[in-house]
């Protein structure tokens, strides 16, 4: 068991649906590396670039014209807060990628402001990932990634890139912003993959 702290008892608010090392919050904390970009929807664009260099683009009206889904999921931040049953509206990446010709295994999500994060394609398909533009029936605040953010709730929340503007698909895995800075390349909260090597 290692080092024991006699005077420490802890809160023990664990529950079966809380990943290891996490605690529950009712707030919606923010983790960002820089100032919040403020992107006007008339300038917003989302681009998928395949491994052959072909680009597929959507503007804001194009995104809103796609079939949307309401999503209710628990989210888990690597800084240890978890928030249960968050409610979003957005477009499934299955829908966005349906007509994209690719055999790529990896994607690097790019954001306005320069942020990047890497994900396997297998984690972006089959009802696991969305481009979300509403939170709790309101437009997503800039602070929380609006006008649109990636939502991949089964991975630590840094993978759910705020202010997303595109995916670059590739046969090789290029690491993103936090991943290059020592965080885990995959980030499964149930395996507590916080840092490289976990």
């Amino acid at each position: 068991m290692g080092i024991v702290s006699e005077g420490f008892s802890g809160r023990r608010r664990g529950r079966a649906d809380l990943p290891p090392g996490q605690y529950v919050t009712q707030d919606f904390p923010v983790l960002s590396a820089g100032p919040t970009p403020h992107i006007r929807t008339e300038h917003w664009e989302f681009t998928v670039t395949t491994e052959t260099g072909e680009a597929y683009r959507w503007d804001w009206a194009g995104l809103l014209a796609l079939p949307a889904e309401e999503i209710t999921k628990d989210i888990h931040c690597v800084t240890r807060w978890s928030k249960f049953e968050t409610n979003w509206k957005g477009v499934s990446l299955d829908t966005l990628l349906a007509d994209v010709e690719t055999a790529a295994d990896f994607a690097l999500a790019h954001s306005y402001g320069g942020y990047t994060t890497n994900l396997p394609m297998d984690d972006l398909l089959d009802g696991q990932a969305w481009i979300a533009y509403e939170y709790d029936h309101e437009p997503v605040d800039p602070e929380h990634g609006g006008p649109a953010r990636l939502l991949v709730p089964h991975l630590y929340f840094w993978k759910s890139a705020k202010w997303v503007r595109g995916l670059v698909l590739s046969d090789t895995e290029d690491l993103g912003f936090w991943e290059t800075a020592g965080y885990h390349e995959y980030g499964d909260p149930w395996k507590e993959q916080r840092y490289a090597g976990d």
Partner: protein, 244 residues
């Protein structure tokens, strides 16, 4: 964005508390001895893991407030209401006690002595901790780049590192400006919250091309970062760290 590549496994190590210092009514600095510590950059944090007698564990991240150039590892912990780890670290732990740590973590919110541009530090409350590591590292390296700290606190009794800040501010190229939001010391003006006017009067201008580090509670960081961008600072040169 320029980054520091750090890809290695972080394992838990035993830390021994060698000293504690009360900073304010709600904050305490713990001085740790970690025999295998690999060193840290100014601005990085570490994880603390506590284990209860029955095996229950809880971990939290804390910014490192000391400079590794001084050979020390110091954490300043602010007690958060109902905080299960912070309450133990602020009220219970004593010299000689041990717990586990791993780190250092973080390669973005860091300042390195080889940086040549002016350094603007802006902290709110206990968000001053990683900025203090930068000031101490700057002093230890005898860096001659100008550095300014804007430190927002409620009242004089809330100031962390009050003695050290006075000493560091004695250097010509180090400017420490306290911004009191609720109550100022006798004879000093209460400035109020950091706003566009405070930024204009006390911070480096965009033309001076500083790298700016902002740390504190989320609303504070959001406000200050927005003010900096509105004042013309390049967003890519504004690095932020938000608490909760």
């Amino acid at each position: 964005m320029e980054r520091t590549a750090i890809r290695r496994r972080l394992s838990w190590q035993v830390a021994t508390v060698t000293d504690v210092r009360r900073e304010t009514a709600t904050a305490r600095t713990l001085v740790l001895d970690v025999p295998e510590w690999p060193g840290h950059l100014a601005g990085q944090h570490l994880d603390v893991r506590l284990t209860a007698p029955d095996g229950y564990r809880a971990s939290r991240s804390y910014s490192i407030a000391s400079a590794w150039a001084d050979g020390t590892i110091e954490l300043t912990v602010e007690q958060v209401p109902d905080g299960e780890v912070s309450t133990y670290l602020v009220d219970v732990v004593k010299v000689g006690d041990q717990f586990e740590v791993r780190g250092p973590v973080g390669g973005w919110f860091v300042w390195k002595p080889e940086q040549e541009e002016p350094v603007q530090l802006i902290g709110g409350g206990s968000g001053v901790a990683p900025l203090m590591s930068m000031l101490r590292t700057h002093a230890a390296a005898a860096s001659m780049v100008p550095v300014r700290l804007l430190y927002s606190v409620r009242r004089p009794a809330s100031v962390i590192y009050v003695g050290d800040l006075k000493e560091l501010a004695a250097a010509d190229h180090v400017d420490v400006r306290l911004v009191y939001t609720r109550e100022a010391p006798a004879g000093e003006p209460r400035i109020g919250r950091i706003d566009a006017d405070v930024i204009e009067r006390f911070a480096f201008t965009p033309a001076e091309s500083p790298t700016t580090y902002v740390c504190g509670p989320t609303p504070f960081v959001e406000t200050v970062a927005d003010l900096l961008v509105a004042a013309g600072h390049d967003p890519a040169r504004v690095r932020t760290e938000r608490f909760g």
